[in-house]
């Protein structure tokens, strides 16, 4: 009788410990996702802040290329108005494309390309593009771990009880592997 009682107590204690451990794991993963998201945000903002400087530098050499400057300005304001992950990603892709054509224009101006300020900005931008890609990769890795956990048995029961829901991946065109560079001669 006494033994059976102890066994029951033991099982209950173990079950409680298990629930606590899994709950804490879910919380810390969710926290890591939040943190990873803010890291992406920091880098996106950094890119956003670099653009006016770059545009000014290019304008000094190629003031008449109005079309491309408009495109960049448009993409930049689209980013400020974007709501939600999907719209945000879309706006980011637009900025990436606009920057690509800006650098393509710059290719035609050897003096601009040799400008120290321009080269520095180019390095900073491609560095930031790389950081965006890596921050996004880390974010998506965390989301995958989180989503896998809350779909697996028995954590799925806990996730349902405590209201943990699946997160969305942050999809964006991959820009980091290639430096921004377009050759007109090809």
């Amino acid at each position: 009788m006494v033994t059976a009682a102890w066994v029951i107590v033991g099982v209950v204690v173990l079950a409680i410990l298990f629930v606590i451990a899994k709950y804490n794991q879910l919380v810390s993963l969710r926290q890591r996702i939040e943190n990873a998201w803010s890291q992406i945000d920091v880098q996106l903002r950094r890119r956003y802040d670099l653009i006016p400087n770059l545009v000014e530098t290019v304008k000094g050499y190629a003031a008449h290329e109005k079309e491309v400057f408009e495109k960049v300005a448009e993409a930049r304001s689209a980013m400020m108005n974007a709501q939600g992950a999907a719209a945000q990603a879309e706006a980011q892709n637009q900025i990436t494309a606009a920057l690509k054509s800006l650098f393509a224009v710059a290719e035609a101006y050897p003096q601009l390309k040799a400008n120290e300020n321009f080269m520095m900005l180019q390095e900073e931008l491609s560095g930031t593009e790389g950081k965006i890609a890596y921050a996004r990769q880390f974010y998506n890795d965390q989301v995958m771990a989180f989503n896998t956990l809350i779909q697996s048995f028995p954590t799925n029961i806990l996730a349902g009880m405590f209201g943990f829901t699946q997160r969305e991946y942050f999809e964006m065109e991959d820009v980091a592997r290639e430096p921004i560079h377009v050759d007109f001669k090809q």
Partner: protein, 295 residues
Amino acid sequence: MYEQISSNIWRSRALILLFLVLFAGIGYVFARIEGNILMLPLAMGIAALMTVGSYYYSDKIVLASVRARPAEHDEFPHYVNAVEGLALAAGLPVPKTYVMDDSAPNAFATGRDPEHAVICVTTGLLEMMDRTELEGVLAHEMSHIKNYDIRFMTLVAVLVGAIALMADWFWWSGRLGGFRSRDDRDSGQLGAILFLIGVALAILAPISAVLIQAAISRRREYLADASGAMMTRFPDGLANALEKIAADQQPLESANKATAHLFISNPLREHGGGLNSLFDTHPPIEDRIARLRAM
């Protein structure tokens, strides 16, 4: 790739366990031979002291010994940017960046944990590598940081040093004190056997310690290659970088035998086949490239 990482972690654990058993065994045998059981805690105490010292100061000692200087963002923007990017990819704090003014391409990481980590590269590496190759090398170093190899390798180095120290100690005390006087207390046969074991250990311990150090180091290089490739999602970057490093024959002037195992490729540029390869701290670079290409 995941399998490779986990199996490497387990093998490394087995090796370090072996190391600790060896260490305790040697301490015990020497203590018996000296007839003074106090020597065992004394030896352990010295080993612990050295471990604590190296735990806190290893990075500063290593950086000073290779004459490295801090790399500022203004001077090396692409290097610092790449490290910051990879820190994001690994989800780690940004390590401190250092450079060595040397034309031989090489790199290493040190420090006691990811919060106190340092990455150091040669200026030769920065000149020679394009962005994907540099990121490949830096991701390899970042993996050493993430896997706590930087702490592990220092501790292994200290354990090896401590065993060598104990063996030396045995030789000295054997010569000065003389075992004969103690034969009266010990039953003669046991004393003789212990003496022989002690001699054998004094010879074998430093050798086996170095062998184990080399084996641990080589496994960690494969592991860092694998997890570095996972970090950049581009194994060819590191493979190309290793090819360039293999083609370069300059030795790194500021490296020595004590720091050799820290570097991404053996800075001393000496390796032989056969039995000699047991002492290599790095796997053959061709083999590492082949494994990366197969991913």
